[in-house]
Symmetry: C2
Subunit: 292 residues, 2 copies
């Protein structure tokens, strides 16, 4: 049942509706070319494994396209191993090539070690920035032309409010369904699940027999995001369609703001060459901090 | 106690802090000239009577300035009379000239009548639009150079989220502390309490012995705003300063969006000449609807 549309599906039609939504989102935002090599960021959770499933279905129609699953081992003992195992299992089942990179090998440290350091920010702040960097590196290694991540409608709606409540609303510009560098220097990032609610992804994963990790990360405590999540879930229940409306608001803001000028602020990090709005990117600053 | 600043005041210092904040907001946003004639919109609630109080204190320093209290009788039986009585009492006490206009006399109807009509929107939607129009008319009648309203920090923070969740985020541009028509055709609107939290206004009203109406309007049921209010109050308690941060986010959005182009969309209503983004303003459209 999709309350905001007032429709009910049988299992088969529901699966088709999700596959359709995925393709329509990709078309609407011009996410894909027929000959793309897509690095699909796979954590082993419901979103990323569903994304991989959907890409495999789509790829069969485009013989010149290619997909590679990119997995990141952040070094979270007793948690990440299981997720990587789910990722490996799904990749094998689907016949998708898998690349695993680790914080240890790329950055010489792990999220567990960072969590023990008593730094200014939560371990999640570091881990998120480093994961983005790790995926960039892996994508460059395999010569990918797109990076796809499993952010769903709920993630996106939460991030919009989070940016507003953090006092950083111009990040909304850089957090849309597609992030392209106008000078073409960085691999574009796409979020083909951004129009699909989280609960529909869980249901799709269940209906397609996808096994995924469902325990939460032991370091996870993004307090503000959790508060926003429950508020938006309450709002969605009372006023179906709230999350979509919020996404549309962000789209309107993006077109009202001078997107060009904000993206033009992106340049190459002096240290590593990755995209940043500062001289040195956040990841390099963090790596300096954790190396002390 | 101001949690977000970590300071505590005695009663006298608290009153001075509020008066100071009011003046600083006015200065920061260039709200006032030494010779303004300010139409202060007074409903009889805590916000508008505090606003009037603060203006009377400020006016004594500017001999060429003038203030008039503008009250609107929306025609809400058993509710508005009491509020108008509080307004009349305070105006007499402060020696402020008072002008009362009514929906009946201006528009030939009342909010009670509109509420009985089973229209597409809530009576609050009509009442809000007509109140703005009534205040515009009263301000024009008395030759005011500014219209001041009692919107506080909580109102403003709620409105920002409301605009986002309503899918109408470019309204954020038109809902700042000051709304000026770039062509100077309409009386500018100012909100000098926009930096003061609601609970501080209640306390200030109490400390200055201001009697105000505290019962809620019988038609009032702005469901979404109420949900947003409780969410923001919870957030403020957990993360003091959240409401200010949200206001700052809106300011950043305003400067990132091409404000000029949005305000330039404002032109005169074909029917009444009031500012509107359409050919005919919302108030005229509503008045047509309720006249049927």
């Amino acid at each position: 049942m999709r309350e905001h549309e007032g429709v009910t599906f049988c299992a088969k039609c529901f699966r088709e509706a999700i596959e359709d939504r995925f393709r329509k989102t990709a078309i609407k935002h011009h996410m894909l070319e027929y000959n793309d090599h897509v690095a699909v960021a796979v954590s082993g959770g419901k979103d990323s494994l569903t994304l991989l499933n959907l890409f495999v279905k789509l790829e069969s129609r485009f013989p010149r396209s290619r997909i590679t699953a990119v997995c990141v081992d952040e070094g979270i003992d007793g948690y990440r191993e299981e997720a990587l195992e789910f990722a490996r299992g799904t990749c094998e089942k689907l016949g998708v090539e898998q690349v695993v990179v680790s914080y240890r090998e790329l950055f010489g440290t792990t999220t567990d070690e960072i969590a023990g350091m008593k730094l200014g920010q939560t371990p999640c702040a570091y881990c998120g920035v480093l994961r983005r960097k790790a995926i960039n590196k892996a994508a460059a290694m395999i010569g990918a032309t797109k990076i796809a991540t499993g952010h769903n409608l709920d993630d996106e709606a939460q991030t919009i409010l989070l940016n507003m409540l953090h006092g950083d609303p111009t990040r909304i510009i850089r957090s849309g369904p597609v992030l392209r560098d106008p000078r073409g220097k960085f691999v574009p990032r796409i979020k083909p699940l951004c129009d699909i609610p989280e609960k529909e992804i869980v249901l799709y994963a269940y209906l397609t027999g996808t096994e995924f990790q469902s325990v939460a990360c032991p370091h996870g405590h993004e307090a503000l995001r959790n508060d926003i999540r429950s508020f938006l879930n309450q709002m969605e229940q009372k006023h179906p369609g709230t999350k979509y409306t919020l996404i549309r608001s962000a789209e309107k803001l993006r077109s009202a703001m001078s997107v060009g000028s904000v993206l033009a602020e992106l340049h190459e990090c002096e240290k590593c060459g990755d995209p940043t709005t500062h001289e040195v990117c956040e990841a390099c600053l963090m790596l300096e901090a954790v190396a002390v």
